[in-house]
């Protein structure tokens, strides 16, 4: 039987390189001077400068991870840590420089903002060029700022929460790297009881070759509040490596809920080594929705620390690894309190020699009485030159738990195709339907408007089939 030709994601709209003037950039590599330069350029308070220097020291002492993807080709000394386009942060798209605005228009960001989003931040290389939120939310006390502004406007909050109690520079080498040279990103604060009905979005675009993007996202959802944050990323294809080492810190307070969706579509020269973690208090809910399509190599394992009684976490992820890609993704669920629950659904597709891996940790601490957890992994292989690996770790330190784990790997079976064909579908239609069905849980998890946006973004084309 003929194999389906499932085309890779259409990169053409992401691959347009802009001729943007850069106002300032550091030299290649990483040193105390580079860190001081970044801090000075940003005119930061001294505590942040000291924090960066401390992190640099930690970074220099820490070893590279020896597991996961092969990082031997990643040369951090050839990465430009900080590169600023000549554009000031604006609150209106009209004021964003033409070149940059056109890029974001091609990606459909301003249009999505008008139609479906409550606020948008757009980062171009190292700096945020656009940040705006609907007036009505500001009136309810919702804060949605780019990180640099937030440091100046809300120094006490940032100082308290920025890489201190959630992710810290001590966690791993790339967390330390991020802490030393972070730039841009978003700060969100949702006051007690406020429900932000329409999603907020941040879009991260890397344009300069050989550069790195290190944005920091910090979201605090106060008691009983709700917010949905969407993150999109892309970059044009270059022959040199780009590095993305962002950091996301989420604080879900009592009874609050954060939905954090990511559609990652970095170009295939990008190393995506991202750290994401949520601390969930009593009865809080964190939902991660993650689509990993781009990048050369990815290591990304969003962690949920269920700290308060009755806290819940969900992770729903799709990973699509095509030629030359090694995407090592997964989730960490750490149950520390009674009656916490977590659910993981991870799907992966690999083709043309791509490697997709699920690497996960499920930990039930001694105090997490009555915890419930389920992990489900499914791998779909579209040919016999690709790989699909599953490496879940389940650690239990308590008896009163209910844990289930399941994983399976396989290809589209001839029986499935035969069945659908007996119902009058052509072979291509049948295959297309099965692949669509396979990624359905992710499409369903996104709000409708954004699912449409995602569909455009991930355009899975099946030969003459998907209409």
């Amino acid at each position: 039987m003929k194999k389906p030709d499932i085309k890779e994601i259409d990169f053409s709209i992401y691959d347009v390189k802009d001729n943007v003037k850069y106002e300032y950039q550091t030299g290649k590599g990483l040193s105390k001077e580079v860190v001081l330069e970044i801090s000075e350029q940003k005119n930061e308070p001294s505590w942040m400068r000291d924090f960066r220097l401390k992190a640099l020291e930690i970074y220099q002492k820490m070893p590279m991870p020896t597991w996961g993807v092969d990082l031997s080709q990643l040369d951090i000394d050839s990465i430009i840590a900080y590169i600023r386009p000549s554009a000031k942060m604006q609150r209106s798209w009209d004021e964003v420089p033409e070149e940059i605005r056109r890029t974001f228009e091609r990606l459909g960001i301003p249009e999505a903002e008008r139609k479906a989003l409550a606020g948008v931040g757009a980062q171009y290389d190292s700096e945020v060029v656009y940040h705006n939120i609907k007036e009505s939310l500001t009136q309810q006390g919702v804060i949605f700022e780019d990180m640099d502004t937030a440091i100046k406007k809300y120094p006490d909050i940032i100082k308290e929460y920025f890489m201190t109690k959630n992710v810290t520079p001590y966690d791993h080498k790339f967390a330390a790297l991020h802490a030393a040279i972070w730039s841009g990103g978003t700060f969100v604060y949702v006051p007690e009881g406020v429900k932000v009905e329409v999603p907020l979005q941040a879009y991260f675009r890397m344009n300069a070759p050989g550069s790195g993007q290190f944005e920091h996202t910090l979201i605090i959802a106060d008691k009983g509040s709700e917010v949905h944050f969407i993150e999109g990323c892309s970059a044009p294809q270059y022959s040199v490596s780009n590095l993305h080492a962002g950091c996301v810190e989420l604080f879900v307070n009592e009874g609050a809920r954060i939905i954090y969706s990511t559609i990652e579509n970095w170009s295939k020269n990008t190393y995506n080594l991202n750290t994401k973690r949520a601390i969930v208090e009593k009865d809080g809910i964190i939902e991660w929705i993650s689509g990993s399509f781009g990048s050369h190599k990815t290591m990304l394992y969003p962690a949920s620390i269920l700290k308060g009684e009755g806290a819940k976490a969900e992770y729903t992820g799709v990973t699509f690894a095509a030629k030359g890609q090694h995407l090592d993704t997964g989730s960490k669920m750490i149950h520390l309190a009674p009656h916490t629950s977590s659910k993981v659904l991870a799907k992966s597709i690999s083709k043309d020699g791509g490697i997709s891996s699920y690497r996960g940790l499920l930990k039930i601490g001694p105090n997490a009485e009555g915890a419930k957890a389920s992990v489900q992994c499914e791998g779909l292989m579209l040919d016999d030159i690709s790989r699909s690996d599953t490496m879940p770790v389940i650690e239990i330190e308590n008896d009163n738990v209910d844990i289930g784990h399941e994983a399976k790997v396989g290809r589209i079976s001839d029986e499935q195709i035969f069945y659908l064909m007996s119902r009058g579908l052509s072979e291509d239609d049948a295959r297309a339907m099965i692949v669509r069905g396979f990624v359905e849980p992710i499409a369903k998890a996104l709000p409708l408007e954004y699912a449409v946006e995602m569909n455009r973004l991930i355009k899975l084309e099946l030969e003459g089939a998907i209409g």
Binding site: D384, D389, E395, I396, D399, N400, D402, E406, A407, K408
Partner: protein, 349 residues
């Protein structure tokens, strides 16, 4: 050795003689049994396995290869069906408290055999062993390994299984003894149509620590594997289960299945499961599952409403999980009295 039972502090003992192995049923004329140390040299087929990775850690393998003081080489002739099980009884006692056994089993084409290893008695001591099994074309080899050593034992067991064309190896581990017990079973399905199945159980109580690993390499088309491990943990016992299914490119129509079920009987137990699935071939069926939890309260309530005490009811539930595997042991006295009795005493304390 990430997440695994720590073996750093375990002292390797100095060399000692071991003389108390007993091998029963020597009366088969199609079976050749020799003590490994009396061989003129290791069989060429075993030497040819040098590049096959196996075992808990290199140091344990090297120790056995250099210092083995026991072990048997068992050869089953072609086309022979050895009906009665061959039982190797590794008894330990104060004089024989250091057992380092090197066992080699070669089943010639189309032969059938069942071999039981019974590591038992003693209270305090050290066991480290290698068992290498070569199942040639069309043969069926059943291996049962019972580890019921005393509570002050450190036990290490390294196994290498080579499954030939259309051959079948059925494996069973029964782990109920020792303070620290680690085993590793590496299985190479190198030729078309090979099958490996494992049905194993463990019961960990008090501060027993178990580290159990099955690594199955599917390297040829139409190979099948199934690993099923069931166990219960009580007190502050800790168990780590590693189950690797590694399907190499080219192993078309391979089928692999892996299952772990753990009953958690106390708040203070620790259970770690790492059921990994590596897949480099698309035309396969592979799945694994792991579950852990308490005994269902409704079931306990039902049994207790029939007049059983809580402990008896718990024992019944544990037995319901473990007995189907124990019943496969073709070795009556051990099965009925010792193992089942042992489990009963350990659950009701």
């Amino acid at each position: 050795m990430w997440k695994r039972v720590s073996m750093e502090e375990i002292q390797q003992p100095s060399y000692k003689e071991y003389t108390s192995a007993v091998i029963k049923d020597l009366s088969h004329d199609t079976v050749k049994i020799k003590e490994t140390k009396k061989l003129a040299g290791l069989p060429t087929e075993i030497l040819a396995l040098r590049d096959k990775a196996f075992g808990i850690e290199g140091k344990f393998i090297n120790m056995v290869k250099d210092f083995y003081n026991a072990g048997f080489h068992i050869e089953i002739s072609q086309n022979s069906n050895v009906e009665k099980p061959i039982v190797i009884d590794y008894i330990t006692n104060e004089q024989n408290d250091t057992l380092i056994d090197y066992n080699i089993i070669e089943a010639e084409a189309n032969s059938q055999v069942t071999i039981v290893f019974d590591y038992n008695s003693g209270t305090k001591g050290f066991h480290n062993g290698i068992t290498q099994v070569i199942a040639k074309e069309g043969s069926t080899v059943n291996i049962v390994k019972i580890q019921r050593l005393g509570d002050e034992f450190n036990d290490f067991d390294n196994n290498l299984v080579i499954v030939g064309k259309n051959a079948m190896v059925n494996w069973s581990n029964v782990v109920i003894g020792s303070k620290v017990s680690a085993f590793d079973v590496a299985v190479y399905l190198d030729e078309v149509g090979g099958t490996f199945t494992s049905k194993s159980i463990f019961l960990g109580v008090d501060s027993q620590k178990y580290d159990m690993a099955y690594k199955v390499y599917h390297q040829a088309p139409k190979t099948t594997s199934s690993v099923d491990l069931k166990g219960a943990l009580k007190g502050s016992a800790k168990a780590t289960f590693i189950g690797n299914i590694d399907i190499k490119k080219g192993a078309k129509k391979a089928k692999a299945e892996e299952n772990e079920t753990v009953l958690l009987l106390d708040k203070t137990v620790k259970s770690v499961a790492i059921p990994a699935l590596y897949c480099g071939e698309d035309d396969v069926q592979a799945n694994h599952s792991a579950s852990a939890g308490q005994i269902d309260e409704d079931k306990l309530y039902y049994v207790m409403s029939r007049g059983f005490s809580l402990e008896e009811a718990r024992l019944l539930m544990v037995q319901a999980i473990l007995n189907p595997v124990i019943d496969l042991i073709p070795y009556d006295p051990v099965r009925e009295i010792i193992i089942k009795g042992h489990i009963g005493r350990r659950i009701i304390k």
